[in-house]
Protein backbone atom coordinates (compact mmCIF):
# COMPACT_ATOMS: atom_id res chain seq x y z
CA UNK A 1 0.00 0.00 0.00
CA UNK A 2 3.00 2.27 0.44
CA UNK A 3 3.47 2.99 -3.23
CA UNK A 4 -0.07 4.33 -3.45
CA UNK A 5 -0.50 8.07 -3.29
CA UNK A 6 -3.26 9.39 -1.07
CA UNK A 7 -5.00 11.05 -4.01
CA UNK A 8 -5.12 7.72 -5.82
CA UNK A 9 -6.78 6.15 -2.80
CA UNK A 10 -9.33 8.95 -2.45
CA UNK A 11 -10.13 8.89 -6.18
CA UNK A 12 -10.50 5.11 -6.00
CA UNK A 13 -12.90 5.35 -3.09
CA UNK A 14 -14.92 8.10 -4.75
CA UNK A 15 -15.26 5.98 -7.88
CA UNK A 16 -16.26 3.03 -5.69
CA UNK A 17 -18.89 5.11 -3.89
CA UNK A 18 -20.34 6.41 -7.17
CA UNK A 19 -20.53 2.95 -8.68
CA UNK A 20 -21.93 1.47 -5.48
CA UNK A 21 -24.95 3.70 -6.08
CA UNK A 22 -25.04 2.64 -9.74
CA UNK A 23 -24.84 -1.01 -8.65
CA UNK A 24 -27.78 -0.57 -6.31
CA UNK A 25 -29.73 1.21 -9.06
CA UNK A 26 -29.21 -1.78 -11.35
CA UNK A 27 -30.54 -4.33 -8.84
CA UNK A 28 -34.20 -3.52 -9.66
CA UNK A 29 -33.33 -3.54 -13.38
CA UNK A 30 -31.98 -7.05 -12.87
CA UNK A 31 -35.13 -7.96 -10.99
CA UNK A 32 -37.30 -6.83 -13.89
CA UNK A 33 -35.19 -8.89 -16.31
CA UNK A 34 -35.50 -11.86 -13.94
CA UNK A 35 -39.24 -11.38 -14.11
CA UNK A 36 -39.09 -11.77 -17.88
CA UNK A 37 -36.41 -14.42 -18.36
CA UNK A 38 -35.99 -16.18 -15.01
CA UNK A 39 -32.71 -16.23 -13.04
CA UNK A 40 -30.72 -15.69 -16.24
CA UNK A 41 -32.00 -12.09 -16.21
CA UNK A 42 -29.29 -11.07 -13.77
CA UNK A 43 -26.57 -12.64 -15.90
CA UNK A 44 -27.51 -10.59 -18.95
CA UNK A 45 -26.44 -7.39 -17.19
CA UNK A 46 -24.06 -8.92 -14.66
CA UNK A 47 -21.09 -7.13 -16.23
CA UNK A 48 -22.29 -3.83 -14.77
CA UNK A 49 -21.38 -5.13 -11.31
CA UNK A 50 -17.67 -5.54 -12.20
CA UNK A 51 -17.24 -2.23 -13.95
CA UNK A 52 -15.63 -0.28 -11.10
CA UNK A 53 -12.74 -2.71 -10.73
CA UNK A 54 -11.95 -2.46 -14.42
CA UNK A 55 -12.23 1.33 -14.53
CA UNK A 56 -10.08 1.83 -11.43
CA UNK A 57 -7.43 -0.64 -12.50
CA UNK A 58 -7.31 0.98 -15.95
CA UNK A 59 -6.98 4.49 -14.52
CA UNK A 60 -4.63 3.89 -11.58
CA UNK A 61 -2.72 0.83 -12.84
CA UNK A 62 -1.39 -0.44 -9.54
CA UNK A 63 -1.60 -3.92 -8.04
CA UNK A 64 -4.69 -4.22 -5.88
CA UNK A 65 -6.72 -1.50 -7.62
CA UNK A 66 -9.31 -3.90 -9.03
CA UNK A 67 -9.73 -5.85 -5.81
CA UNK A 68 -9.83 -2.87 -3.45
CA UNK A 69 -12.24 -0.78 -5.51
CA UNK A 70 -14.74 -3.63 -5.88
CA UNK A 71 -14.46 -4.41 -2.16
CA UNK A 72 -15.08 -0.79 -1.19
CA UNK A 73 -18.02 -0.58 -3.58
CA UNK A 74 -19.51 -3.70 -2.00
CA UNK A 75 -18.91 -2.34 1.50
CA UNK A 76 -20.68 0.90 0.58
CA UNK A 77 -23.57 -1.11 -0.86
CA UNK A 78 -23.84 -2.95 2.46
CA UNK A 79 -23.69 0.34 4.39
CA UNK A 80 -26.39 1.89 2.23
CA UNK A 81 -28.57 -1.14 2.81
CA UNK A 82 -29.51 -3.66 0.14
CA UNK A 83 -31.51 -6.80 -0.28
CA UNK A 84 -28.60 -9.21 -0.23
CA UNK A 85 -27.06 -8.39 3.14
CA UNK A 86 -23.49 -8.63 4.37
CA UNK A 87 -22.74 -11.59 2.11
CA UNK A 88 -22.57 -9.03 -0.68
CA UNK A 89 -19.23 -7.92 0.76
CA UNK A 90 -17.80 -11.38 0.15
CA UNK A 91 -19.29 -11.46 -3.35
CA UNK A 92 -17.67 -8.12 -4.09
CA UNK A 93 -14.30 -9.34 -2.85
CA UNK A 94 -14.54 -12.43 -5.02
CA UNK A 95 -15.49 -10.43 -8.11
CA UNK A 96 -12.62 -8.07 -7.39
CA UNK A 97 -10.21 -10.98 -7.03
CA UNK A 98 -11.40 -12.30 -10.38
CA UNK A 99 -10.71 -9.02 -12.16
CA UNK A 100 -7.44 -8.65 -10.28
CA UNK A 101 -6.28 -12.07 -11.44
CA UNK A 102 -6.47 -10.97 -15.08
CA UNK A 103 -4.27 -7.95 -14.43
CA UNK A 104 -1.88 -10.07 -12.36
CA UNK A 105 -1.57 -12.47 -15.32
CA UNK A 106 -0.15 -9.62 -17.40
CA UNK A 107 2.06 -8.64 -14.43
CA UNK A 108 0.30 -5.29 -14.36
CA UNK A 109 2.01 -4.31 -17.60
CA UNK A 110 -0.71 -4.48 -20.25
CA UNK A 111 -3.85 -2.39 -20.06
CA UNK A 112 -5.27 -2.87 -23.57
CA UNK A 113 -8.82 -3.76 -24.51
CA UNK A 114 -8.05 -7.48 -24.45
CA UNK A 115 -6.79 -7.40 -20.85
CA UNK A 116 -9.79 -5.35 -19.73
CA UNK A 117 -12.18 -7.81 -21.38
CA UNK A 118 -10.27 -10.69 -19.82
CA UNK A 119 -10.68 -9.01 -16.43
CA UNK A 120 -14.44 -8.87 -17.01
CA UNK A 121 -14.48 -12.55 -17.99
CA UNK A 122 -12.41 -13.59 -14.97
CA UNK A 123 -14.66 -11.61 -12.63
CA UNK A 124 -17.64 -13.39 -14.24
CA UNK A 125 -16.05 -16.81 -13.76
CA UNK A 126 -15.11 -16.16 -10.12
CA UNK A 127 -18.50 -14.72 -9.25
CA UNK A 128 -20.32 -17.57 -10.98
CA UNK A 129 -18.47 -20.23 -9.04
CA UNK A 130 -19.27 -18.36 -5.83
CA UNK A 131 -22.91 -17.86 -6.82
CA UNK A 132 -23.18 -21.54 -7.70
CA UNK A 133 -22.60 -22.44 -4.08
CA UNK A 134 -24.27 -19.51 -2.39
CA UNK A 135 -27.46 -18.94 -4.36
CA UNK A 136 -28.21 -22.56 -5.01
CA UNK A 137 -27.88 -22.47 -8.82
CA UNK A 138 -27.33 -26.19 -8.50
CA UNK A 139 -31.08 -26.48 -8.02
CA UNK A 140 -31.56 -25.42 -11.64
CA UNK A 141 -31.22 -27.73 -14.64
CA UNK A 142 -27.72 -28.12 -16.08
CA UNK A 143 -28.44 -26.65 -19.51
CA UNK A 144 -29.95 -23.58 -17.93
CA UNK A 145 -26.95 -23.10 -15.62
CA UNK A 146 -24.64 -23.35 -18.62
CA UNK A 147 -26.65 -20.70 -20.47
CA UNK A 148 -26.42 -18.46 -17.39
CA UNK A 149 -22.66 -18.97 -17.25
CA UNK A 150 -22.16 -18.04 -20.92
CA UNK A 151 -24.46 -15.04 -20.63
CA UNK A 152 -22.51 -13.80 -17.62
CA UNK A 153 -19.13 -14.20 -19.36
CA UNK A 154 -20.28 -12.28 -22.42
CA UNK A 155 -21.83 -9.61 -20.25
CA UNK A 156 -18.61 -9.32 -18.22
CA UNK A 157 -16.50 -8.90 -21.36
CA UNK A 158 -18.82 -6.40 -23.05
CA UNK A 159 -20.39 -4.34 -20.27
CA UNK A 160 -17.49 -4.15 -17.87
CA UNK A 161 -14.56 -4.59 -20.29
CA UNK A 162 -15.61 -2.57 -23.32
CA UNK A 163 -17.94 -0.06 -21.66
CA UNK A 164 -15.48 0.42 -18.77
CA UNK A 165 -12.73 1.29 -21.24
CA UNK A 166 -14.96 3.66 -23.22
CA UNK A 167 -16.02 5.47 -20.06
CA UNK A 168 -12.46 5.81 -18.72
CA UNK A 169 -11.16 7.03 -22.08
CA UNK A 170 -13.92 9.64 -22.22
CA UNK A 171 -12.89 10.76 -18.73
CA UNK A 172 -9.22 10.92 -19.71
CA UNK A 173 -10.13 13.18 -22.64
CA UNK A 174 -11.54 15.78 -20.23
CA UNK A 175 -8.09 16.09 -18.66
CA UNK A 176 -9.08 15.35 -15.06
CA UNK A 177 -6.90 12.26 -15.00
CA UNK A 178 -3.71 14.11 -15.94
CA UNK A 179 -1.91 13.06 -12.75
CA UNK A 180 -2.94 9.39 -13.00
CA UNK A 181 -1.43 6.61 -15.06
CA UNK A 182 -4.12 6.71 -17.76
CA UNK A 183 -3.93 10.49 -18.14
CA UNK A 184 -0.14 10.34 -18.36
CA UNK A 185 -0.40 7.78 -21.14
CA UNK A 186 -2.77 10.10 -23.00
CA UNK A 187 -0.33 12.98 -22.69
CA UNK A 188 2.51 10.83 -23.96
CA UNK A 189 0.42 9.81 -26.95
CA UNK A 190 -0.47 13.38 -27.74
CA UNK A 191 3.15 14.48 -27.47
CA UNK A 192 4.29 11.71 -29.81
Amino acid sequence: MNNWKLKEIVVMSVLSVVFAVVYLAFLPVGKILVGFFGPIGYDLIFGIWFIVSIITAYIIRKPGAAFLSETIAAAVEVLLGNAVGPMLLVSGMIQGLGAESAFAMTRYKRYDLFTLMLAGVMAAVFSFVWGYFLSGFAALSTGYVLAMFIARIISGAIISGVAGKVLSDALAKTGVLSSFALGKEYRRKRAA
Binding site: M1, K7, V14, G38, I72, G85, P86, A139, L171
Partner: protein
Protein backbone atom coordinates in the same frame (compact mmCIF):
# COMPACT_ATOMS: atom_id res chain seq x y z
CA UNK B 1 -28.90 0.62 24.09
CA UNK B 2 -26.78 -2.48 24.59
CA UNK B 3 -26.40 -3.11 20.85
CA UNK B 4 -25.14 0.41 20.17
CA UNK B 5 -22.30 -0.02 22.65
CA UNK B 6 -20.97 -3.34 21.41
CA UNK B 7 -17.62 -2.93 19.69
CA UNK B 8 -18.45 -2.57 15.96
CA UNK B 9 -15.78 -5.01 14.79
CA UNK B 10 -16.97 -7.68 17.23
CA UNK B 11 -20.53 -7.04 16.06
CA UNK B 12 -19.63 -7.24 12.37
CA UNK B 13 -17.61 -10.44 12.77
CA UNK B 14 -20.44 -12.03 14.76
CA UNK B 15 -22.95 -11.17 12.03
CA UNK B 16 -20.66 -12.50 9.30
CA UNK B 17 -20.07 -15.68 11.31
CA UNK B 18 -23.77 -16.37 11.84
CA UNK B 19 -24.54 -15.63 8.18
CA UNK B 20 -21.81 -18.05 7.15
CA UNK B 21 -23.21 -20.81 9.37
CA UNK B 22 -26.79 -20.16 8.26
CA UNK B 23 -25.70 -20.50 4.63
CA UNK B 24 -25.21 -24.22 5.25
CA UNK B 25 -28.64 -24.81 6.73
CA UNK B 26 -31.14 -26.18 4.25
CA UNK B 27 -34.44 -26.39 6.05
CA UNK B 28 -37.03 -23.64 6.47
CA UNK B 29 -37.63 -24.06 10.22
CA UNK B 30 -34.19 -23.04 11.54
CA UNK B 31 -34.10 -19.71 9.63
CA UNK B 32 -37.64 -18.82 10.74
CA UNK B 33 -36.76 -19.29 14.39
CA UNK B 34 -33.55 -17.37 13.97
CA UNK B 35 -35.30 -14.48 12.18
CA UNK B 36 -37.72 -14.17 15.10
CA UNK B 37 -34.81 -14.17 17.55
CA UNK B 38 -32.83 -11.56 15.58
CA UNK B 39 -35.80 -9.22 15.26
CA UNK B 40 -36.56 -9.53 18.98
CA UNK B 41 -32.94 -8.75 19.88
CA UNK B 42 -32.89 -5.77 17.52
CA UNK B 43 -36.08 -4.29 18.97
CA UNK B 44 -35.24 -4.98 22.60
CA UNK B 45 -31.64 -3.81 22.65
CA UNK B 46 -31.57 -1.16 19.94
CA UNK B 47 -32.99 2.35 19.83
CA UNK B 48 -34.10 3.62 16.43
CA UNK B 49 -37.29 4.65 14.65
CA UNK B 50 -39.25 1.40 14.40
CA UNK B 51 -41.08 2.65 11.32
CA UNK B 52 -37.85 2.77 9.27
CA UNK B 53 -37.13 -0.82 10.18
CA UNK B 54 -40.38 -1.79 8.47
CA UNK B 55 -39.57 0.31 5.39
CA UNK B 56 -36.28 -1.54 5.09
CA UNK B 57 -37.77 -4.94 5.76
CA UNK B 58 -40.52 -4.88 3.11
CA UNK B 59 -38.22 -4.94 0.04
CA UNK B 60 -36.37 -7.86 1.61
CA UNK B 61 -39.58 -9.85 1.88
CA UNK B 62 -40.31 -9.22 -1.80
CA UNK B 63 -36.81 -10.33 -2.72
CA UNK B 64 -37.16 -13.44 -0.56
CA UNK B 65 -40.45 -14.29 -2.23
CA UNK B 66 -38.81 -13.82 -5.65
CA UNK B 67 -36.08 -16.24 -4.61
CA UNK B 68 -38.70 -18.74 -3.43
CA UNK B 69 -40.68 -18.45 -6.64
CA UNK B 70 -37.77 -18.73 -9.11
CA UNK B 71 -36.39 -21.74 -7.24
CA UNK B 72 -39.72 -23.53 -7.53
CA UNK B 73 -40.31 -22.70 -11.17
CA UNK B 74 -36.81 -23.33 -12.50
CA UNK B 75 -35.64 -26.14 -10.27
CA UNK B 76 -34.63 -29.59 -11.36
CA UNK B 77 -37.44 -32.00 -10.66
CA UNK B 78 -36.57 -33.74 -7.43
CA UNK B 79 -35.81 -37.43 -7.88
CA UNK B 80 -37.45 -39.02 -4.87
CA UNK B 81 -40.67 -37.08 -4.73
CA UNK B 82 -43.04 -38.13 -2.01
CA UNK B 83 -45.97 -36.08 -3.14
CA UNK B 84 -47.12 -32.85 -4.64
CA UNK B 85 -48.49 -29.65 -3.20
CA UNK B 86 -50.79 -27.44 -5.17
CA UNK B 87 -49.91 -23.79 -5.02
CA UNK B 88 -51.63 -21.01 -6.96
CA UNK B 89 -53.40 -23.65 -9.01
CA UNK B 90 -50.20 -25.50 -10.00
CA UNK B 91 -48.77 -28.76 -8.74
CA UNK B 92 -45.26 -28.81 -7.32
CA UNK B 93 -43.24 -31.61 -5.70
CA UNK B 94 -43.05 -31.25 -1.91
CA UNK B 95 -39.24 -31.39 -1.84
CA UNK B 96 -38.98 -28.46 -4.22
CA UNK B 97 -41.28 -26.32 -2.09
CA UNK B 98 -39.26 -27.27 1.00
CA UNK B 99 -35.91 -26.31 -0.58
CA UNK B 100 -37.35 -23.14 -2.10
CA UNK B 101 -38.78 -22.06 1.24
CA UNK B 102 -35.41 -22.75 2.85
CA UNK B 103 -33.62 -20.56 0.29
CA UNK B 104 -36.17 -17.75 0.51
CA UNK B 105 -36.17 -17.69 4.31
CA UNK B 106 -32.41 -17.77 4.33
CA UNK B 107 -32.44 -14.49 2.41
CA UNK B 108 -34.73 -13.05 5.09
CA UNK B 109 -32.50 -14.32 7.89
CA UNK B 110 -29.47 -12.63 6.26
CA UNK B 111 -31.55 -9.47 5.87
CA UNK B 112 -32.62 -9.34 9.52
CA UNK B 113 -29.01 -9.83 10.61
CA UNK B 114 -27.68 -7.06 8.38
CA UNK B 115 -30.48 -4.73 9.53
CA UNK B 116 -29.48 -5.44 13.12
CA UNK B 117 -26.01 -4.17 12.26
CA UNK B 118 -27.12 -1.21 10.12
CA UNK B 119 -29.64 0.14 12.62
CA UNK B 120 -27.35 0.01 15.64
CA UNK B 121 -23.95 1.01 14.26
CA UNK B 122 -22.40 4.41 13.67
CA UNK B 123 -20.43 4.07 10.44
CA UNK B 124 -17.58 6.34 11.54
CA UNK B 125 -17.16 4.29 14.71
CA UNK B 126 -17.18 1.15 12.60
CA UNK B 127 -14.36 2.36 10.37
CA UNK B 128 -12.36 3.66 13.36
CA UNK B 129 -12.77 0.27 14.99
CA UNK B 130 -11.60 -1.46 11.80
CA UNK B 131 -8.41 0.60 11.91
CA UNK B 132 -7.78 -0.04 15.60
CA UNK B 133 -8.89 -3.65 15.95
CA UNK B 134 -8.33 -5.18 12.53
CA UNK B 135 -5.30 -3.05 11.59
CA UNK B 136 -6.88 -1.68 8.43
CA UNK B 137 -4.32 0.76 6.92
CA UNK B 138 -5.37 4.31 7.95
CA UNK B 139 -4.57 5.52 4.44
CA UNK B 140 -7.35 3.38 2.98
CA UNK B 141 -9.74 3.89 5.89
CA UNK B 142 -9.61 7.69 5.90
CA UNK B 143 -9.63 7.74 2.10
CA UNK B 144 -12.83 5.71 2.11
CA UNK B 145 -14.41 7.91 4.79
CA UNK B 146 -13.65 10.97 2.67
CA UNK B 147 -15.12 9.24 -0.37
CA UNK B 148 -18.25 8.23 1.52
CA UNK B 149 -18.83 11.89 2.43
CA UNK B 150 -19.02 12.68 -1.28
CA UNK B 151 -22.33 10.94 -1.63
CA UNK B 152 -24.65 13.82 -0.64
CA UNK B 153 -22.40 16.21 -2.56
CA UNK B 154 -22.77 14.17 -5.72
CA UNK B 155 -26.53 14.42 -5.46
CA UNK B 156 -26.46 18.24 -5.49
CA UNK B 157 -23.90 18.13 -8.28
CA UNK B 158 -26.24 15.93 -10.31
CA UNK B 159 -29.10 18.40 -9.84
CA UNK B 160 -26.82 21.27 -10.87
CA UNK B 161 -25.73 19.56 -14.06
CA UNK B 162 -29.33 18.80 -14.92
CA UNK B 163 -30.34 22.41 -14.31
CA UNK B 164 -27.39 23.64 -16.39
CA UNK B 165 -28.41 21.38 -19.25
CA UNK B 166 -31.97 22.65 -19.09
CA UNK B 167 -30.96 26.30 -19.12
CA UNK B 168 -29.01 25.59 -22.27
CA UNK B 169 -32.12 24.13 -23.86
CA UNK B 170 -31.78 20.40 -23.38
CA UNK B 171 -35.32 19.13 -23.14
CA UNK B 172 -36.82 17.06 -20.41
CA UNK B 173 -36.73 13.41 -21.38
CA UNK B 174 -40.16 12.11 -22.28
CA UNK B 175 -39.37 8.56 -23.29
CA UNK B 176 -37.38 5.70 -21.80
CA UNK B 177 -34.77 5.91 -24.51
CA UNK B 178 -34.20 9.62 -24.02
CA UNK B 179 -33.93 9.12 -20.28
CA UNK B 180 -31.13 6.61 -20.84
CA UNK B 181 -29.34 9.00 -23.19
CA UNK B 182 -29.71 11.72 -20.59
CA UNK B 183 -27.87 9.60 -18.02
CA UNK B 184 -25.10 9.08 -20.55
CA UNK B 185 -24.74 12.86 -20.87
CA UNK B 186 -24.56 13.22 -17.09
CA UNK B 187 -22.04 10.46 -16.44
CA UNK B 188 -18.86 12.17 -17.67
CA UNK B 189 -19.32 15.61 -16.08
CA UNK B 190 -20.41 14.01 -12.82
CA UNK B 191 -17.43 11.67 -12.67
CA UNK B 192 -14.98 14.33 -13.80
CA UNK B 193 -16.21 16.68 -11.08
CA UNK B 194 -15.97 13.93 -8.47
CA UNK B 195 -12.40 13.08 -9.46
CA UNK B 196 -11.36 16.73 -9.31
CA UNK B 197 -12.89 17.09 -5.86
CA UNK B 198 -11.26 13.88 -4.67
CA UNK B 199 -7.86 15.10 -5.77
CA UNK B 200 -8.36 18.38 -3.94
CA UNK B 201 -9.53 16.56 -0.81
CA UNK B 202 -6.42 14.39 -0.84
CA UNK B 203 -4.18 17.43 -1.15
CA UNK B 204 -6.02 19.12 1.73
CA UNK B 205 -5.59 16.03 3.91
CA UNK B 206 -1.87 15.87 3.21
CA UNK B 207 -1.35 19.58 3.73
CA UNK B 208 -2.87 19.19 7.20
CA UNK B 209 -0.31 16.56 8.07
CA UNK B 210 -2.06 13.28 7.22
CA UNK B 211 0.65 10.83 6.28
CA UNK B 212 -1.30 7.60 6.53
CA UNK B 213 1.29 6.21 8.95
CA UNK B 214 0.14 3.42 11.20
CA UNK B 215 1.59 5.02 14.31
CA UNK B 216 -1.04 7.58 15.08
CA UNK B 217 -3.12 8.67 18.02
CA UNK B 218 -6.89 8.58 18.08
CA UNK B 219 -9.42 11.07 19.32
CA UNK B 220 -11.87 8.20 19.78
CA UNK B 221 -10.05 5.10 20.99
CA UNK B 222 -12.09 1.97 20.25
CA UNK B 223 -11.49 -0.96 22.57
CA UNK B 224 -12.85 -4.46 22.94
CA UNK B 225 -14.18 -4.76 26.48
CA UNK B 226 -15.17 -7.88 28.29
CA UNK B 227 -18.90 -7.18 28.01
CA UNK B 228 -18.58 -6.96 24.21
CA UNK B 229 -18.21 -10.73 24.13
CA UNK B 230 -21.76 -11.10 25.41
CA UNK B 231 -23.08 -10.34 21.92
CA UNK B 232 -21.28 -13.15 20.02
CA UNK B 233 -22.02 -15.58 22.85
CA UNK B 234 -25.69 -14.63 22.67
CA UNK B 235 -26.00 -14.83 18.87
CA UNK B 236 -23.99 -18.03 18.33
CA UNK B 237 -25.57 -19.62 21.41
CA UNK B 238 -29.06 -18.98 20.11
CA UNK B 239 -28.10 -20.31 16.68
CA UNK B 240 -27.03 -23.50 18.44
CA UNK B 241 -30.33 -23.62 20.34
CA UNK B 242 -32.44 -23.14 17.18
CA UNK B 243 -30.49 -25.84 15.38
CA UNK B 244 -30.90 -28.15 18.37
CA UNK B 245 -34.62 -27.38 18.43
CA UNK B 246 -35.20 -28.21 14.77
CA UNK B 247 -32.98 -31.28 15.10
CA UNK B 248 -35.11 -32.49 18.00
CA UNK B 249 -38.31 -32.08 16.00
CA UNK B 250 -36.72 -33.66 12.96
CA UNK B 251 -36.87 -30.66 10.61
CA UNK B 252 -33.19 -29.95 10.45
CA UNK B 253 -31.17 -30.55 7.31
CA UNK B 254 -27.59 -29.59 6.60
CA UNK B 255 -26.21 -28.89 3.15
CA UNK B 256 -25.76 -32.35 1.71
CA UNK B 257 -25.85 -31.89 -2.04
CA UNK B 258 -29.66 -31.69 -2.08
CA UNK B 259 -29.48 -29.12 -4.81
Amino acid sequence: MFLHNVNPTVKALTIIGTVFLLAFVFDPVTPVLYIVWTVIVTFLFGTFKKRYYLYYFIPFTLFAFGMFWTTIVFSDTASGTTGTVSFLGMEFPTEDIWTAAALGLRVLAFASLSLLFLFTTNMVHFILSLIQQLKLPPKIAYGVMAGYRFLPMLKTEFQQIRAAHRIRGVNRPDSWKEKLLQYQRFAIPLLAGAIRKAERTAIAMESKGFTGAKERTFYRPMKVRRKDWLFPVMMFGMLGVTIAFSLYFGYFSWYDGQL
